[in-house]
């Protein structure tokens, strides 16, 4: 919770202001009823009217003041809290963004519920716990002080009542609801996951006839949640009822004690009516305590997220002459002594069985390059955002012109589709590109990588999901675009921020050149298209098991030749079937 409150610090004066205004509002309410009672009971003694003037003016002033104070307090408080919320949302996202890889626990449904619901807990903490809590405490102290001026004995009874209402009952509410409340948040998270599974996985469920079972599970979970909420209510509202009882009993006791102590009848009435109003104010703490109990779990999660140290990244020996990557210290290397030579314009193909470390190699190169504009492109699990085609494309190069977009889409074979759309570049593609076909989605991701125009273009399975003819065409287009852009970009002498040089250098010839335009690293399982590569590297279990040109590798016995022959045979079979 402290990390949340730390974020609130810049807005502290606004919060304190809201607290004072809230206290003023409540105090005005108590004073209004007390003064009105004094007015009537004094008037009953039929004094001269001048004795009542002050009271009459006070009653009217308090009546107006309360409304105005309330309005100011609520606006001040909400504005401060919403500013803090903005801070928390941005910080939570920044924390998630700083994480290397999303773990299983931070599923998007959970993350969504975290920011929309857990972060709202911060709002409730400030507006419904801290501000009313402070106001109730202030009114309580004022009321006891005022009562003590009239009758110390009655003030003691009032203090006891206020303590029960402001501390005893809130504590009871906390104890009663804590255990149940702690179980609500995870259930809600699970229910959110159920909802995501039933919506995003609707097709899979329907095809496999599993919609009913999944729905039953979600309904069961919703029922379980409802049961919890009912139990929470039975206990919680019993405390509210006790609050009503306490306020009445305190008022009765204060009146009886004051009378016995010989206090003037008028003041007894003021004390009794004032007590009812004061205890009522302190009962707000019961609601605040209940809030706090329910907020505990989400606040803890928000705090954990804000305070979480970023998990230690995979250890990689960043030496382009020999890349070694381990995901766990002492674990088996994902990449073991892989040497990469990338002079400008060099096209490097990387192949190998799945799990050989191809994607790891690309990720390591990307990280080593420092910036996506130096080393970047199409990496594994490319995501298409729920935004326009233009916004998706501009991700890598926000300053690109429409001509740049056209060139990139032409290279990826997406241009015709874009031109067919009524909204053109502004066509919205749906969540994760759901409004696109698989091929269009792939082309969009590819066009985005082309537009990025990095010094070293990384391509992880660029033709995945495309048929062979389209794959050949798209690959040729993208490689052509990379070559065409080589040397023509404005950033021909790019360097890493730390001045360590570019990966476009063979480590042994680091001084040979200062530019690396047009270098391409292509990871693929389809060997066709690799004929044009300057070098092809075969990875297996993190090691380079063979390297050379396509022609050399096809000649030598091994994984590459086996794959090539198998794929060619299949492809020829395919060609025969063409009419």
């Amino acid at each position: 919770m402290t990390s949340v409150l730390r974020l609130a610090r810049p807005y502290l004066s606004q919060l304190i202001g809201a607290g004072l205004l809230a206290a003023g509002t409540e105090a005005a309410g108590v004073a209004l009823m007390a003064t009105a009672t004094w007015l009537l009971m004094t008037a009953a003694g039929q004094p001269p009217i001048s004795a009542l003037t002050v009271a009459i003016v006070s009653v009217r002033a308090l009546a107006i003041g309360r409304g105005v104070l309330r309005y100011t307090e609520r606006l001040t408080g909400h504005d401060a809290v919403l500013r803090i919320l903005t801070e928390v949302r941005a910080r939570v996202f920044a924390t998630l963004a700083a994480r290397r890889s999303p773990s299983v626990e931070t599923r998007s449904g959970d993350a969504l519920s975290r920011v929309v619901s857990d972060v709202d807990a911060v709002q409730d903490l400030l507006l419904r716990v801290l501000v009313p809590g402070a106001a109730a405490a202030a009114v309580g102290v004022l009321a006891v002080g005022g009562a003590a001026l009239i009758s110390p004995a009655a003030a003691t009874a009032l203090a006891v009542g206020l303590l029960v209402a402001g501390i005893g009952l809130p504590a009871a509410a906390t104890a009663l609801t804590r255990r149940t409340a702690e179980r609500v948040a995870p259930l809600r998270g699970m229910l959110a996951n159920d909802a995501v599974d039933l919506t995003h996985g609707a097709a899979d469920l329907a095809a496999y006839g599993a919609t009913g079972a999944a729905l039953d599970a979600a309904r069961r979970r919703a029922g379980e949640l409802a049961g919890l909420e009912r139990r929470l209510a039975t206990a919680g509202w019993a405390v509210d009822a006790a609050g009503v009882l306490v306020s009445g009993a305190t008022a009765g006791a204060v009146a009886a004690i004051a009378l016995r102590a010989g206090v003037d009848g008028v003041l007894v009435g003021v004390l009794a009516v004032g007590t009812l109003a004061a205890v009522e104010t302190c009962l707000a703490l019961v609601a605040a305590a209940r809030q706090l109990t329910e907020l505990r779990a989400p606040l803890a999660r928000v705090s954990a997220l804000l305070e979480a140290p970023s998990p230690s990244p995979a250890t990689s020996t960043v030496d382009i002459a020999s890349i070694t990557v381990r995901y766990r210290p002492g674990g088996p290397p994902a990449l073991d002594g892989v040497r990469v030579d990338l002079p400008p314009g060099r096209r490097l193909g990387v192949v190998g069985p799945s799990g050989a470390g191809k994607s790891t190699l690309l990720a390591t190169l990307a990280e080593w390059g420092g910036s996506p504009r130096e080393v970047g492109g199409l990496l594994a699990e490319a995501y298409v955002f729920h935004a326009s085609v233009r916004e998706n494309l501009l991700l890598g190069r926000p300053d690109a012109t429409d001509d740049d977009l056209t060139a990139a889409c032409a290279a990826a074979g997406l241009l015709d589709w874009v031109r067919e759309q009524p909204d053109g570049w502004d066509t919205v593609v749906g969540e994760d590109g759901a409004q696109l076909s698989g091929g269009q989605r792939q082309r969009l991701a590819l066009a985005r990588a082309v537009l990025l125009d990095p010094a070293v273009l990384l391509l992880d399975e660029p033709t995945e999901g495309l048929d062979p003819a389209a794959a050949d065409q798209v690959l040729a287009g993208v490689l052509g675009a990379a070559r065409g852009l080589a040397g023509s970009g404005p950033r021909s002498a790019a360097t890493r921020p730390d001045g360590a040089g570019l990966p476009g250098l063979s480590a042994s010839e680091a001084s040979a050149t200062s530019t690396a335009r047009g270098a391409v690293v292509l990871v693929t399982h389809r060997l066709r298209g690799l004929e044009g590569m300057d070098e092809v590297m075969v990875l297996d279990a993190g090691r380079v098991v063979a390297r050379g040109t396509h022609a050399e590798l096809v000649e030598a016995p091994g994984w590459y030749r086996d794959q090539w022959l198998a794929q060619e045979a299949a492809e020829r079979g395919y060609l025969i079937t063409r009419p």
Binding site: A43, L96, R107, A111, A192, V196, D197, S359, D432, A434
Partner: protein
């Protein structure tokens, strides 16, 4: 959208709440009597005290009235909360059930996120409505009526003041609430937008990182949150204004009642006990309406969610009762055309697939290959033409029974928040562990299972976090193996696979399709060797090619 404080559809759609609403009404009447009793006894007690006398009977009566009031408060709270829980659970079930009834095509895209939000946090907003607003609304009817009646008996001129000012509360409330509602609707949209935006950003985090944009998006999230704040503050300035007016009407009325009656006390025109009764009763008349007004804003979010949930879940699935007697002998498409909003996916396609036939579908991406599979799955309805299964129109078939004969390997399978084993069991929940293990082996998934921390028991994340797309593809294949269905629909099963695993999966697919009817979308040539014949889909048209292997 309705502006009514109570949506009558609730009674019809969630009948279980009727008794709870009736109980709330009765408790509201009881509360009104208790309020009168409390004020009457307290006035008597204080009138006695003014004479320096402790009226024990009045004190006992006051304590009893307070105790009764406590009971009423407890009852109202519990009943209202129970109603909220009942309604939320029922609507969650209905809403998610409606997704199933409407089919996957309807929920695709942005709507999925919106419904997921609505079923979760959206409906939780109903708590504020049920426990905060609704009981006060009931009291807002019963208590003022009772208080006015009692005041007319005690002092009609004070009653007149209350009677004149009381309607100002609903009038002002309605006027300002009308503005508030429009603003709240905007806020709800923005809230959904923010939720969708955030989910999108989190899902795309690896891609944002790959493009070095994750820090820039922190700014976008902040901007969205700040826009949200500005929108909310605009709403609140109006909403709180209504709160202020309501509070002013109530407190000023107390002053308006107290001052004249005080002056009449001076003249001896009224007894102290009556004056005190009027003073104590006056605020009680305004309290419930004020409380309801103050909670109107908070409950609007719940009412908007309620409206959305009731509207979205109304759809009735068409009756599909036809069953197929035995094994399917033939699937026939008769001049089928499928049109989407913007495009025509299939044009006048006729096609016959006989039992045991393995048909490969080739064609450029976006040509309509997946739509063809969607038709057979019943996800997509023909705009014109018919799909016939042994002569029976698919549109009249019991879809579940029909789909029980199908196994489907989509291009991007969804991974459910469950263990890997349960994900594989999707289409056959009762499959034995041995069957799952066999499917794992058959789908060349065994190395993946070994690498996972808890093997088959490893929980999988939403949208397949934790598994690569190639691994996810093999999970989808394993599902098909466990399903053991006579008809297979494969949407490029070897996409995203490496040469090595592709060979293994092809082997497995070969075994899988043996003796079954199979429709295989094939981008890769390797699969074509398995086909008895090949059809080509281009621009929505289907052309049959000659036999592949021959």
């Amino acid at each position: 959208m309705n502006r009514r404080p109570f949506d009558p559809r609730l009674l019809r759609r969630v009948p279980a709440t009727r008794r709870q609403f009736a109980a709330l009404g009765l408790l509201g009447v009881a509360a009104a009597f208790v309020v009168i009793a409390q004020a009457t006894t307290l006035a008597a007690l204080l009138a006695g005290a003014a004479g320096g006398r402790l009226d024990r009977a009045a004190l006992a009566g006051f304590v009893a009235a307070v105790a009764a009031r406590a009971g009423v408060v407890w009852g109202q709270g519990v009943v209202a909360a129970r109603a909220a829980a009942t309604v939320k659970a029922a609507l969650r079930g209905e809403l998610l059930g409606a997704v199933g009834r409407r089919g996957p095509e309807w929920v695709a895209g942005q709507r999925a996120g919106e419904i997921a939000t609505l079923a979760g946090r959206g409906l939780d907003a109903l708590d504020a409505y049920f426990t905060g607003y609704l009981p006060q609304l009931v009291l807002g009817v019963t208590v003022p009526v009772a208080v006015l009646a009692r005041m007319v008996l005690a002092d009609w001129s004070s009653a007149l003041i209350v009677a004149v000012t009381l309607p100002l509360i609903p009038v002002f409330g309605a006027l300002l609430g009308w503005h508030t509602e429009a603003a709240t609707k905007r806020q709800w949209r923005r809230l959904s937008m923010l939720g969708g935006h955030f989910l999108d950003m989190v899902s795309g985090l690896p891609t944002l990182r790959a493009f070095g944009r994750e820090r820039a998006q922190v700014g976008a999230v902040r901007r969205m949150a700040d826009e949200h704040r500005l929108a909310t503050m605009r709403t609140l300035r109006i909403a709180f204004l209504s709160g202020m007016v309501l509070e002013l009407v109530a407190t000023l009325s107390v002053a308006l009642v107290a001052v004249p009656i005080g002056l009449r006390l001076l003249e001896g025109g009224v007894s102290l006990q009556t004056a005190l009764l009027v003073l104590l009763l006056a605020p009680e008349a305004y309290l419930p309406l004020r409380a309801a007004g103050a909670r109107f804003h908070a409950s609007m979010e719940g009412l908007t969610a309620l409206d959305a949930a009731l509207s979205l879940s109304t759809v009735e699935a068409p009756e599909r009762a036809d069953a197929l007697p035995g094994a399917v002998r033939e699937i026939r498409l008769e001049s089928v055309t499928v049109e989407y909003d913007r495009t025509v996916a299939l044009r006048d396609v006729s096609l016959t697939i006989r039992a045991g036939e393995r048909v490969a579908i080739i064609g450029p991406s976006g040509a309509g290959k997946s739509t063809l599979l969607g038709l057979l799955l019943g996800f997509v309805q023909p705009t014109a033409g018919r799909v016939l299964v042994d002569g029976v129109d698919l549109a009249t078939l019991d879809l579940d029974a029909w789909r029980a004969r199908l196994a489907w390997v989509p291009q991007r399978a969804h991974l459910f928040a469950a263990s890997l084993a349960d994900n594989i069991r999707l289409g056959a929940p009762t499959a034995s562990d041995d069957a799952v293990r066999a499917a794992v082996k058959a789908a060349a998934l065994d190395d993946v299972v070994e690498a996972l921390p808890d093997g088959l028991d490893t929980p999988l994340g939403e949208r397949g976090h934790g598994l690569s797309s190639g691994q996810r593809q093999r999970v989808a294949l394993a599902r098909a193996f466990v399903r053991d269905a006579p008809i297979l629909l494969l949407d490029e099963p070897t996409a995203r696979l490496d040469g090595g695993s592709e060979a293994a999966v092809l082997d497995a697919t070969r075994r899988l399709v043996a003796g079954r009817t199979a429709l295989m979308v094939a981008h890769r040539p390797a699969l074509l060797a398995e086909a008895d014949r090949v059809i080509r889909v281009t621009d929505g048209h289907v052309v049959s090619l000659e036999a592949a292997a021959a």
